[in-house]
Assembly symmetry: C2
Homo-oligomer: 108 residues x 2
Amino acid sequence: MPVAPPPLAAKRVAVLKALAHPTRLLLTEALMQGELCVCDLRALVGDDLSTVSKHLSLLKSAGVLVAEKRGLNVYYRLACDCFSSFLACVDQVCPSPQSAPTQTSACC
Amino acid sequence: MPVAPPPLAAKRVAVLKALAHPTRLLLTEALMQGELCVCDLRALVGDDLSTVSKHLSLLKSAGVLVAEKRGLNVYYRLACDCFSSFLACVDQVCPSPQSAPTQTSACC
DNA sequence: GCATTAATTGGCTAATTGGCCAAATAAGCA
DNA sequence: TGCTTATTTGGCCAATTAGCCAATTAATGC
């Protein structure tokens, strides 16, 4: 088993692709502090509401976020609470000279 | 500090985007076992040599891989040895029902 | 039911990315 | 020098993605 089997690999790619966009990464980072509704997130990133909605939908499809409708609002939150260590992982994958200088959270 | 500062965020996006492609993820996973030359990697993925070269170049630009020329061959290897725990991280970001069933390597 | 607010969906175009071919560069060897 | 092999680069076209607008759906209150 030299590499991941196709279904796992496809899932990994979906997660990575979902997060590999500045706006979507920003949205996800914002949700580290807790759930927010779409209109809050829209105000945060400044894009058109439909654009934000599509980004969120993609993140939900990938399994990164979960959505819950309460009243008129839809609240999004992280599907798992390990996203901060995931980010630490990302920062560690390549030993860049300037990034993560005072980073203490470890992944690997 | 609600979210990552622009330069760090851009770097994260670059790493994620580099890995968010089936072929590039496959190439990177293959290099977990050690360095390989471009022709070996080309045989592994089956794409045109120029396509593989461009994928590798992108991964190098993102800082995921490093290249070293020895003789006629260019050998690529992982820029950091923590890639396996990074993958474990990816698998953990969303609690999918079928993926990572017997996974013991932990990230978060 | 009708009006209002929140969010999603469809449609369209612009921009980006992917992948092949051909040409160019680089290194070793006769 | 010229030949051969390994890799990269440029160019081109197809496919995907991004983002805006308009229209639709959903929930609440009158």
